[in-house]
C-alpha cells in the first residue's frame, strides 16, 4: 500500500492499448498459480486450458462459433457503455432473440424457403430489441435504474424460455422433454466451412463490426453517444437529445444480443432448449471492457473469452475440474484490467508509505 497516484494531465494512448495485454499476461500467471493450488501441474494445465483447444480445426471452429454471440453482445453493450448506459441484461435479450427467432422457425416448420433465415434474423433482432426497450422505457419515463431492470429481466427471460419449452413450443413428439422440435434445414444458418459448424453468421458479424466501427468513429451519432456518456450537461448544451440516445443504444444493444440468440438457435443448437443461456451476455460485459469499447478490440477480446469457455470444458475433461473455472478466469481478467486502467490517467509513485490511509 505504498503507491500514490499522480495525474498525467492527459491520457496515455500507449497505456490504453498496453493495459489489456498486461491484464491477459497477469491472468495467465495467476491462472498458473491457481492451477497449482488446485493440485494440477501449472504449465500442463495452462496448456490444456489455453492452447490445446486451438490445436485442431474442430477446436478452432468451436472457438469462432462461441466467439460470435459473445462478440455480438459485447459490441451492442459497448455502445451503451460509451453513453454511460449500463445494460447488463444482454443475456436476457439473447434469450428473447432466441425465443422469437425460434418461434418463427417453428411456425414455418414445414415451409422450405430462403426467406426463412432473413425472417428469423429480423425476429431475433426485434425480440432482443423489445426486451431492451423495457429498461429504456422505464428509465426515460420513470427514471428507473437500467442496471437493475435489465438484470431482473434476464431472470424473467430465462424463466420465459423454460415456460415455452415446457409448454407452447414443446416438441409434440418429444416424450415430454422440455425442448422444441429440431429446426428444418431452411431454418438453419448455412455452413461456410465444410466439416465444421461454422456458419454464415461469421460474415454477418464482420459486416456488423465494420458498420458499427464507422458509425461510432465517423458519424455524428457516435459523437453524440460519447458526449452523452462523458459529459451529459455538455450534450444538453449542444442540443443532443439524450432520450433519443438512450433509446438508440439500448435498442441496438438489445438487437445485437437478440441476433446473437438467433445465431445460437439457428446455429449450434438447431432447436429451443432451456440451456441456451450460457452466460455469454455476462461475459460480453468483460469483453466490452477488455476490447476498450472498440469494435476491433472487442472482436479480439471475444475470441479470447471464447477460449476461456473451451478451456473450461477442456479442464473439466482432462483435469477433472469444474467448468466454473471459466468464470474465475474471466473475473480475474476483468480485475486486472480495471486495476491497470489507473495507469492510463495516472502515474504511480511509490515514495509515500501509507498515504492512501491518510486521505490526503
Amino acid at each position: 500500500m505504498i503507491l500514490k497516484l499522480e495525474p498525467r494531465g492527459e491520457i496515455s494512448k500507449n497505456m490504453l492499448y498496453l493495459t489489456p495485454i498486461f491484464a491477459v499476461i497477469l491472468t495467465f500467471i495467476s491462472g498458473g498459480i491457481f492451477f497449482a493450488i488446485m493440485g494440477a501441474e501449472p504449465m500442463n494445465a495452462l496448456y490444456i486450458f489455453f492452447i490445446q483447444p486451438m490445436t485442431n480445426s474442430y477446436g478452432i471452429s468451436e472457438l469462432l462459433i462461441k466467439a460470435m454471440p459473445i462478440t455480438l453482445c459485447a459490441i451492442g453493450l459497448s455502445i451503451g457503455f460509451k453513453a454511460n448506459i449500463w445494460n447488463i441484461g444482454a443475456e436476457g435479450q439473447l434469450v428473447l432473440g432466441a425465443i422469437t427467432s425460434g418461434a418463427v422457425a417453428l411456425a414455418f416448420y414445414d415451409v422450405e424457403t430462403p426467406f426463412l433465415i432473413p425472417l428469423m434474423i429480423v425476429a431475433g433482432i426485434i425480440g432482443g430489441g423489445l426486451w431492451a426497450a423495457i429498461p429504456a422505457f422505464l428509465k426515460i419515463k420513470f427514471n428507473a435504474n437500467e442496471i437493475l431492470v435489465s438484470l431482473m429481466l434476464t431472470y424473467v427471460a430465462t424463466l420465459l424460455l423454460s415456460l415455452l419449452v415446457h409448454g407452447a413450443l414443446r416438441d409434440p413428439d418429444g416424450f415430454n422433454f422440455p425442448e422444441s422440435r429440431m429446426f428444418h434445414d431452411s431454418a438453419l444458418l448455412p455452413i461456410i466451412w465444410d466439416g465444421t459448424g461454422l456458419h454464415i453468421g461469421a460474415l454477418i458479424l464482420i459486416f456488423i463490426i465494420i458498420t458499427i466501427w464507422i458509425l461510432l468513429s465517423r458519424h455524428i451519432i457516435g459523437f453524440q453517444i460519447r458526449v452523452v456518456g462523458m459529459a451529459p450537461r455538455a450534450a444538453g448544451f449542444a442540443g443532443f437529445n439524450q432520450n433519443k440516445i438512450i433509446w438508440f443504444v439500448l435498442l441496438v444493444g438489445g438487437g445485437m444480443a437478440g441476433l446473437a440468440g438467433m445465431f445460437e438457435v439457428a446455429g449450434p443448437y438447431g432447436q429451443l432448449v432451456p440451456s441456451i443461456p450460457q452466460g455469454y451476455g455476462f461475459t460480453a460485459i468483460i469483453v466490452a471492457f477488455l476490447g476498450r469499447l472498440h469494435p476491433i478490440g472487442i472482436l479480439l477480446a471475444g475470441l479470447l473469452m471464447s477460449l476461456t469457455y473451451l478451456g473450461g470444458e477442456a479442464a473439466q475433461i482432462a483435469l477433472n475440474m469444474p467448468s466454473a473455472i471459466t468464470g474465475v478466469f474471466q473475473g480475474m481478467l476483468l480485475f486486472y484490467l480495471l486495476a491497470f486502467d489507473v495507469l492510463i490517467k495516472f502515474r504511480l509513485r511509490f515514495n509515500n508509505p501509507f498515504s492512501i490511509f491518510r486521505g490526503k
Binding site: I220, F223, R226, M230, F237, A238, G239, F240
Partner: protein, 510 residues
C-alpha cells in the same frame, strides 16, 4: 500586550504541481491581532499557500513557525487544534444536512448536537451573525452559508482565521456586515489572513498585505498607504489594458433577442423559479444581468439556451422567430450562440480534444457534417482558427479540453461561439476564474462582436465586469429581473440594493 513574535511565520515555502510551481520560496509573517491581506490574481498561488497553512496539503520545502516555534501542520485537525480556522471560498458544507450537523462536522470532539445548538445561537448573537441551528443548508442564502463556516471557526476560539475570497458571493450590504464582524474579531486579538483580489476591500480592512504573482511573493505593503492602482500594478505586473468601447453603436430597430413575460418553475431540486421576466436586447448593445449567485441566473441561462424549454414558443424570440420550444441546436441555426458558466463538463467535454469540442456548437454554423458524417478535417481547421485568433495556449488541436488552463479554455470556448458570428450572444460568467490577460482579451472580443451588430447578454456576478463592458444593466434577485438601467445613470450602491432583493420598484421607476 501584543507580542513581537509573529503568530505565524512562513519561511521559504515551495510547492510544485505537475507543470507548475504553485509556490516559489514564499516568506510571510502574520502578527497577533492584525488583518493581513494575501493579494493576487487567480492562479497566483494564494489557495495553495493557505491550504498548506491549514494542513490540507504538504509543501515540498520550507518551514512554518507558530508563535515562534517550528511546527509541522499535518492535517486540518491539527490546524484546528492549534487555533487555526478557515472559511473556504467554495464552502465545505453539506447541503442535505442542517446547520448544527454541518458545524459539528467541522469541530474536534464536539459536544452532542443538542448541546451545540445553544452555543451556536450564543455565538451568532455575539457577533451579529444570525443563524437558525436546525435549518437545512440548502434552504439558506449564500451569505447565511458563509456564516455557518465562520461560526464553525469561532466556536473553537481561533487565534488565526483564514478567509478565502469571502466577499465574492456576497451583496454589498452583506460585505459591510462581514467587515464589522471581522474588525470585532481583530479587536479581540484574533489574527485574520484575508485572501482577495478586490483591492478596495483590502484597503478598507487590512493593515498589511503580501502580494503574490505567478507563485512568487512580489511585494508587501500597508494597503492603507497605497492606491488601488499601485497595488493592482504589483499584482498584475504590468499596466492594465482595460478594454474600452470605442463608440456608442447604432442599435438595430427590432431586438434580436426578446423575452416575453417568462415565468417558469426550476427543474432543479434547490433551484430558483423565474417570475415574469421581460427583456429585449438590440443588435449592437451589451446588456448585463447582475446578481448574487443562485437567484435564477442558472435557470435563465438554461431557458435562453434551450436546455430547459418554455411553456410556449413566443416567450423567447430570436431574430423574430419564436424559439421557446426549440432545443439549443435549432436556436443556433437561427443565429444564437451561448457560453455557459461551467467550462468543463458543460461548455466543453473535458476528456475530448479541442478538435472534437468544436462539434458541440459549431456543427451547423460551420457546416461540419456531410450526410450525418463528421468532416474531421474541417472541424480541425476550425479549432486551429480559434486557437490562432484567440491566442489560446494549447500544444495542438488534439489537446484535451481539461489539459488547458481555465483562461485558455475560456478563450477557446468564447472564441468557438464568437467566430460563428452570431446575431445573439448569451454568455454566463465570461471571465470567472480567468487570469487578467485573458479577461481583457475576452472582453475585447465581446465588445467587437457588439460593434459588428450582435445583441449581447452577459450574466455575471462581478459588478466590475458589468460596469466595464455593458451599456445597460438589469439586476436579478429571487428569480425576478429589475428593469434595465443605463450604466451611466446608476451607482454600484443602487445595484447593490437591488441585488439584495430589497425592492424592485427602484428598477421600475427608471
Amino acid at each position: 500586550m501584543i507580542s513581537q513574535i509573529p503568530l505565524l511565520e512562513l519561511q521559504a515555502i515551495s510547492k510544485k504541481y505537475p507543470g507548475c510551481l504553485a509556490n516559489d520560496n514564499i516568506d510571510l509573517k502574520i502578527m497577533h491581532g492584525e488583518i493581513h491581506a494575501l493579494l493576487g490574481e487567480n492562479g497566483a498561488g494564494k489557495s495553495t499557500l493557505v491550504k498548506y497553512i491549514y494542513g490540507v496539503i504538504k509543501a515540498d520545502s520550507g518551514c512554518l513557525l507558530w508563535n515562534g516555534e517550528k511546527t509541522n501542520i499535518i492535517s486540518p485537525n491539527f490546524a484546528r487544534n492549534l487555533g487555526i480556522g478557515m472559511v473556504f471560498q467554495h464552502f465545505s458544507l453539506f447541503d442535505a444536512m442542517n446547520v448544527v450537523e454541518n458545524i459539528a462536522l467541522g469541530m474536534e470532539n464536539s459536544s452532542s448536537l443538542a448541546e451545540l445548538a445553544p452555543q451556536i445561537v450564543n455565538i451568532s448573537k455575539k457577533y451579529g451573525l444570525p443563524l437558525e441551528p436546525y435549518h437545512l443548508v440548502h434552504d439558506l442564502s449564500v451569505g447565511e452559508r458563509q456564516r455557518i463556516e465562520i461560526i464553525r471557526c469561532l466556536l473553537q476560539q481561533p487565534k488565526l482565521l483564514i478567509m478565502d475570497e469571502p466577499t465574492s458571493v456576497l451583496t454589498p450590504s452583506e460585505v459591510k456586515q462581514l467587515f464589522i464582524t471581522l474588525n470585532r474579531l481583530r479587536d479581540e486579538g484574533c489574527s485574520i489572513l484575508y485572501i482577495s483580489h478586490k483591492l478596495e476591500e483590502i484597503k478598507q480592512i487590512c493593515q498589511n498585505a503580501a502580494i503574490l504573482r505567478g507563485g512568487k511573493l512580489v511585494g508587501s505593503c500597508d494597503p492603507r498607504q497605497e492606491t488601488a492602482k499601485s497595488m493592482a500594478e504589483m499584482m498584475i505586473g504590468k499596466d492594465l489594458i482595460t478594454p474600452k468601447k470605442s463608440k456608442i453603436n447604432k442599435l438595430s430597430p427590432e431586438p434580436n433577442l426578446l423575452i416575453n413575460d417568462l415565468t417558469i418553475m426550476s427543474d432543479q431540486q434547490f433551484g430558483t423559479d423565474l417570475h415574469a421576466i421581460n427583456l429585449g436586447v438590440h443588435g449592437g448593445e451589451i446588456i448585463g444581468i447582475a446578481g448574487v449567485a443562485g437567484n435564477g441566473q442558472m435557470e435563465l441561462m438554461q431557458v435562453l439556451s434551450g436546455e430547459m424549454l418554455c411553456p410556449s414558443p413566443e416567450i423567447i424570440m430570436i431574430n423574430n422567430h419564436p424559439v421557446g420550444l426549440l432545443p439549443p441546436d435549432q436556436r443556433r441555426k437561427l443565429g444564437a450562440a451561448f457560453t455557459p458558466e461551467e467550462r468543463l463538463g458543460h461548455g466543453a467535454v473535458p476528456s475530448m480534444s479541442l478538435h472534437e469540442n468544436t462539434l458541440l456548437s459549431a456543427i451547423s454554423a460551420k457546416n461540419l457534417l456531410q450526410n450525418g458524417f463528421i468532416n474531421m478535417a474541417k472541424a480541425g481547421k476550425y479549432a486551429r482558427n480559434i486557437i490562432d485568433k484567440f491566442n489560446v495556449r494549447a500544444s495542438n488541436i488534439d489537446s484535451n479540453a481539461e489539459s488547458l488552463s481555465g483562461g485558455n479554455l475560456q478563450k477557446f470556448i468564447v472564441g468557438r461561439e464568437i467566430m460563428q458570428k452570431p446575431d445573439v450572444f448569451i454568455v454566463s460568467q465570461p471571465t470567472w476564474g480567468v487570469d487578467a490577460g485573458a479577461v481583457a482579451a475576452i472582453h475585447q472580443a465581446i465588445i467587437n462582436l457588439a460593434n459588428n451588430g450582435a445583441a449581447i447578454l452577459i450574466i455575471s456576478h462581478e459588478l466590475d465586469e458589468l460596469f466595464t463592458i455593458c451599456d445597460r444593466i438589469a439586476v436579478m434577485a429571487a428569480g425576478r429581473l429589475s428593469s434595465v438601467m443605463d450604466v451611466g445613470n446608476i451607482s454600484v450602491e443602487e445595484i447593490g440594493l437591488l441585488m439584495g432583493g430589497v425592492d424592485n420598484k427602484i428598477g421600475h421607476s427608471i
